[in-house]
Symmetry: C2
Subunit: 335 residues, 2 copies
């Protein structure tokens, strides 16, 4: 197996990417095809020597930056690490593609180069979300701002297959985000998608409310890209607010500050449990190839874990499973 790694993707690229690849190679089994700017990457390959039999390097002269307009950048920069990397996946020279770069850019490059899986209307961005009981898999978190019911049904299918095959969740519980528990609650979109999901061959548990997501009520949480984006960013913000307020109140009090010092290992464990880097990347589902997107702020650990995720997705034959699932598990499934 060979995994393309976008050496230029992410806020701390290329150095943490090379470090992440090095860490991955210590126990991962796939070979790595690094793509990026030679003058930036080559010196790092001297600094962090990687086993030459397992790592290849491919020069790409351009970089798609985090703040560029995704579709325009992908069209304009044919020799970017992202586009070159995606071409390597398309041509069969690699089995998966991983990037911590501009996620809209990855989406655009994947759509232009790989295309959609036949039958899938829209690909979805996803993430693994820490909960009280472990984690839940949420999609779409931003690829599709305005959705149709069928898209949400297909997100449910793809999420369920991914959770089962890659995250190791048997018979995943699939829920749809709504503003009430009872069937019949929700926007027009959610009500129609609810019916489609109910009639799918999935373990559909119905509506999940905002509070049910961190509680871990569902293994797969389906939503439109607008709501999903708000959920992810609000969760980051709310967790940051809590930690900020706790820190502020502790610093105000001398005895409390001593207490906090003693409690530090517990706080470190909390941070660990909420750390996205533990989960690595999440897939772009619905495109015709294994594409894993890591957090833009990925450190070396997150990169290593994202490559592991790519390896598991290839082993889980996630694309073939979705192809099969579209036909078998969604009923009629046409608009």
């Amino acid at each position: 197996m060979r995994i393309v790694v976008d050496a230029m993707g992410g806020d701390y690229a290329p150095e943490v990417v090379i470090q992440g690849v090095r860490d991955y190679l210590s126990d991962g089994s796939a070979d790595i095809l690094l793509v990026g700017q030679e003058d930036k990457v080559k010196p790092l390959l001297e600094k962090y020597p990687l086993p030459p039999d397992r790592v290849q390097f491919r020069h790409a002269s351009q970089v798609i930056e985090m703040d560029e307009h995704p579709a325009e950048a992908v069209k304009a920069k044919e020799d970017s690490s992202m586009v070159v990397g995606m071409n390597l996946l398309k041509s069969g020279e690699a089995d998966a593609f991983m990037s911590a770069g501009n996620s809209g850019g990855v989406l655009a490059a994947a759509l232009f180069r790989l295309g959609r899986i036949p039958g899938i209307k829209r690909p979805a961005l996803s993430t693994v979300y820490p909960t009280a009981t472990g984690f839940t898999f949420i999609l779409d978190i931003g690829a599709n701002t305005d959705c149709k019911p069928l898209y949400l049904q297909q997100f449910g299918l793809m999420g369920s297959i991914y959770a089962e095959r890659v995250l190791g969740v048997p018979n995943p519980r699939v829920g749809i985000v709504s503003n009430g528990e009872e069937p019949g609650k929700g926007s027009m979109l959610v009500q129609e998608a609810f019916e489609l999901l109910k009639n799918s061959n999935l373990n559909f548990i119905g509506n999940v409310e905002g509070k049910d997501i961190p509680a871990g009520m569902a293994d797969v949480v389906v939503t439109d890209g607008f709501t999903g984006n708000v959920i992810i960013k609000l969760s980051e913000g709310a967790a940051g607010l809590m930690l900020g307020i706790i820190g502020e109140e502790i610093r105000r009090r001398k005895v409390a500050a001593l207490g906090a010092l003693l409690a530090k290992p517990a706080f470190r464990a909390v941070k660990h449990r909420l750390d996205y880097a533990e989960y690595g990347g999440a897939p772009l589902l619905g495109v015709d190839g294994v594409v894993i997107i890591a957090h833009g702020r990925s450190n070396a650990k997150a990169i290593r874990n994202a490559i592991r995720v790519a390896e598991r997705a290839v082993n889980g034959r996630i694309v073939e499973q979705i192809k099969q699932g579209v036909a078998e598990r969604l009923g009629i499934g046409e608009e």
Copy 2:
């Protein structure tokens, strides 16, 4: 000034409601008109003696329960505390109505009895949301699941007036929830509402993302009732998750547990800052009368604060201000 208090509303009614009224009367200036079931309320009025010159009681034989279908319950229970109380506001016997009961029921009763403010298309449920810098006022949090752009523009107007007149925020910054900062980001609904808000006579700061809400970037956060409901419930859930994980990790470690004991006053302060009871109730804006809804889990402090909010809303002439604002501040404002 006289405020109707629904004695039967809330999970711990009627006892905490009576306690809240007692606490309010110690420094509040409005008189109270309590509405509820005589056999439940009268014994409590003996247990908690209230000044007879400032408190009146009106019997209402029925109660709208928390889990009843709002509109059906309001139609079926004409002699419920909620409907009787709303009639007292409508007839001019009182200046405001406050309930910690079924918020959908309050909405339905207000719509049936008071009607909408002329020009306002839809009333909105709201809440005061604690942030890193204080609080923000969010609407709609659930009255309108599917919205039109004009509704959101009007929510912005009503929220801005409320923040200024009742919460004491000068020239409130109004933002709209979106899945990206830049203008042009967002669903079709958000993009159209953005233009309407931009052309209103409001201090419109544009899109706010999920993370910007707890950060306190806007004083008034406008969204549709579906997204608003998810935001509120997710925030509660995420805060609960954080505290739960912190507690769990601390209990696992003896030294950390000692530390947590020392840090307890800081944690208590955190809870205090995030406590909805501090903010009391939030208004149902857009109906033709001052209607304040308190949290269903309200304790006596929350009830007292909600009655204070009602008093401030009457003093701020919030309904008249909205009537005036619709004409003056929304531009053309027609669908």
